[in-house]
Subunit: 126 residues, 2 copies
Amino acid sequence: MTFDPATLRYNDAGLIPAIAQDAASGEVLMMAWMTAEAVAQTLETGQVTYWSRSRQEFWIKGATSGHTQQLVEFKVDCDRDCLLIEVTQEGPACHTNRRSCFYTAVQNGEEMEIMSPMEAANPPSE
Amino acid sequence: MTFDPATLRYNDAGLIPAIAQDAASGEVLMMAWMTAEAVAQTLETGQVTYWSRSRQEFWIKGATSGHTQQLVEFKVDCDRDCLLIEVTQEGPACHTNRRSCFYTAVQNGEEMEIMSPMEAANPPSE
């Protein structure tokens, strides 16, 4: 069946959550939001493209930072209201320079930082 | 720092998305929603508890189906508006009897079913 982004279920703001997972390691990197147009662009270009709720604009991941996400596999869930995007992640996925945004764990009722920022291999490109 | 569920960022409906990941395999199983109270219950009981938007009630995963999720690790993202819950999943996570809800892939513009329902090891308990 030909895939049509309009057949996904978006929230009242026209957005669908997209989970980015490292295709090689299985690590969950981040969650962000897509519009139908961002879904179409991601599939067309192979460069994962979100919708920035704060900036209200398309957000081609890594366009300014160089920390791109190359699409490997695009999955839809049973309710068609969530996406799982398997990617090849260049450098850190998180704006804090950590590989993943999920670097805080709750253990025995306490918040623990369980991941450090990555070392920059090259001078930042932005 | 002591963790307080009230410090998370919920949407206008008082919900936060929670991604469930198989703690052993790294497979992303499903995404569902939690209220602050569901977060507290999950941490207190070790049984992953969501908020059912359709039924408008707490949803202790597997309470009727037996397909429970035992909490292994509870993570918060950098913006505190998304959770990653690593679990020990009993049987299928999806109501279609598949291990994961993400059983549909989009490849070359076509939707493909890439995962079959699991065989029932025992007669269903519901």
